[in-house]
Amino acid sequence: MRSIGLRYCGGCNPQIDRSKVIENLKEALKENGVEVDFTTDRQSAVDIVLLINGCMHACLEEEYLREAYSPQFISVKGEMVDDQYIEEELIPGFLIKKIMDLFNT
């Protein structure tokens, strides 16, 4: 089974409901028949890391960009995913596409 490491920012003043985004993502993956194991354990080996930043400042990116992190990561940062603006309710659908692209490469 494919695995995704979840990393949450500190959540001081999030513009999005981070847990809800992930809940909706999990449901949508399930509906699409994609089985993924999610973990917040930083020691576990994973295929993709999903950074869930509450706002566009993206505190988590500072750490991950600095370390030239492997494996690849997708960064949710408020109503933005990587370098695209996405409304909150559309984020899970957008993430599925990104995740599938990374799984398939």
Binding site: N13, P14, Q15, D17, C55, M56, H57, A58, E61, K77, M80, D83, Q84, Y85
Partner: protein, 511 residues
């Protein structure tokens, strides 16, 4: 890359021949016109300090286009550090000039257009961003100062641009040609316009589909055919012609030297057009520019506060009242307000983010809070400066009476302060405080970068009020509080039922 110094900047203006009117006259030479010189000196400071090793860390940056060292006023912010250094530069220049140094409008325009053209191209497949990068390269290579021309004349504010009786109330496209566009319209109170090398225009408001021809951004040389400037008045401006002393800040003047720019059938080649009808990106460009620009005010105005606080303390010492508790209290108030605004601007810079274009933008909510504080606190710290300085700031005699042998001696005696302080120095300082606290700098702090209502709209829009309601609902017990349930180890409703029961049984201990 050329990085001009102050003198070279002034000389570079001689190569331009913009059509400028002031006081009913056409001005022959911008550089030689005494009414304009203080503004030119102030803008020159943005060039001069870039050459001083003491300030170059703040005043210069590395171009992301060429890797070369450039003046920070032509730089696209590439990191949080760049955003922070930008506002540090604003404070520094406010300290060195005591007034508006004009060049930040163009800087914010460059960054705003850079960010927006990238997003426009993503949606429409246009090539505005590449065009703009080529233009930016020219700006950096020549160390140009573009004036950022956003605010239109606007006519009837209740009507959209296309519905105005006078079509020139907003700058617009009159004709689309194969090689460019013809534009007409009026931009109002544009800072540093007459002493800039270029004009960078941006739309002033959100446009609808019917306003397509008004959704417009371009750059042209300042002396392009068809462009006319009318320089605006400022408080006590003609004192500059009366001598040296009465102006208060004869070297650097007061506010930014604003002008009305009239565009009449001006040709703009396509390579200099960065928006031409993409009305759905007008809001983004306005908000991006405004965000950058509003953040600046917590830098530049705090630099001015540093000067006026220093001046107020100096006057208090010269008058022998600096130990009085009410003076210490007032100065402390001024410092606290200034540093509050500084904290705001640092915060909106440190909380900035990377846009899809790669450029960094400030936190828009905090930038608007910064500017809203400025609209209030500048008035308050200037009020305290007036309070400390005393009534003399509005009753000082003229320089001509101070120079007149018949009145000189008695007037000088009148301004004697503490022993050892020359009376003329006291007069100089009082004039500076008058210039800074009574003049046009106050409404500039109110309306520059947008009036308070504009900031409140942005603050309301970006505050996330729904999420705040969620927080309140959870604390109030309307929503389920999962963390509280974890802490108490049970369902919240069951917990409160137990508590009520224990209270009824007069058992105070809850657990």
């Amino acid at each position: 890359m050329t990085m001009m110094n102050g003198k070279e900047y002034i000389e570079s203006l001689r190569t331009l021949h913009p059509e400028v009117y002031f006081f009913g006259q056409k001005i022959k030479s911008i550089v030689d016109e005494p009414m304009f010189q203080p503004h030119i000196h102030t803008a020159a400071m943005t060039y001069e300090l870039a050459h001083d090793p003491e300030y170059e860390q703040i005043m210069t940056a590395t171009s992301h286009l060429t890797g070369e060292r450039i003046n920070r006023f032509t730089h696209i912010h590439q990191s949080i550090d760049d955003l922070v250094k930008k506002v540090r530069m604003m404070r520094l220049l406010g300290q060195k000039t005591g007034t508006c140094f004009q060049r930040c409008v163009g800087l914010d325009g460059l960054n705003g257009v850079y960010v927006t053209t990238y997003n426009t191209d993503q949606k429409y497949g246009t090539d505005y961003h590449e065009r703009f990068k080529k233009y930016l390269l020219e700006v950096q290579k020549n160390d140009w100062m573009p004036s950022g021309a956003m605010t239109d004349a606007r006519g009837d504010r209740s009507l959209h641009p296309s519905k105005q009786t006078h079509p020139d109330a907003y700058l617009h496209i009159k004709e689309r040609l194969k090689d460019g566009i013809i534009v007409s319209g009026i931009k109002a109170h544009i800072t540093g316009a007459i002493n800039s090398h270029e004009i960078l225009t941006m739309p002033t408001r959100t446009m609808g589909e019917e306003d397509k021809d008004f959704a417009l951004s371009f750059s042209i040389p300042a002396d392009t055919k068809g462009v006319t400037y009318i320089f605006s008045r400022q408080t006590n401006d003609t004192r500059r012609l009366d001598g040296v002393l009465d102006g208060g800040n004869p070297k650097y003047g007061i506010v930014g030297g604003e002008a009305i720019i009239i565009f009449k059938d001006v040709f703009v080649p396509w390579e200099r057009v960065f928006m031409a009808g993409e009305y759905d990106f007008t809001n983004e460009l306005v908000e991006t520019f405004a965000g950058y620009h509003r953040s600046n005010y917590g830098g530049c105005k705090v630099g001015l506060a540093d000067v006026v606080i220093g001046g107020s303390n100096w006057i208090a010492e010269a008058h022998g009242i600096n130990k009085a508790s009410h003076i210490i209290d007032k100065l402390t108030e001024m410092i606290a307000m200034a540093e509050t605004c500084w904290s705001c601007t640092l915060a909106c810079s440190y909380e900035g983010y990377k846009t899809p274009s790669g450029a960094y933008h400030i936190n828009p909510l905090l930038a608007n809070v910064t500017k809203l504080n400025i609209t209030r606190m500048v008035y308050e710290w200037m009020r305290l400066a007036q309070d400390i300085a005393g009534g003399k700031i509005i009753t000082l005699p003229s320089e001509k009476d101070l120079d007149n042998p018949e009145t000189m001696e008695i007037l000088t005696e009148c301004f004697v302060g503490k022993e050892g302080v020359p009376p003329m120095d006291i007069i100089k300082m009082l004039r500076l405080i008058e210039n800074m606290s009574v003049g046009a700098g106050l409404p500039e702090a109110m309306h520059g970068a947008g009036s308070p209502a504009a900031q409140k709209i942005m603050i309301a829009r970006r505050s996330g009020i729904d999420k705040k309601m969620e927080l309140a609902r959870t604390i109030a017990g309307i929503n389920r509080d999962k963390y509280f349930e974890k802490i108490i180890g049970k369902d919240e409703t069951a917990h409160w039922d137990e508590v009520k029961k224990k209270i009824k049984e007069k058992k105070v201990q809850i657990y």
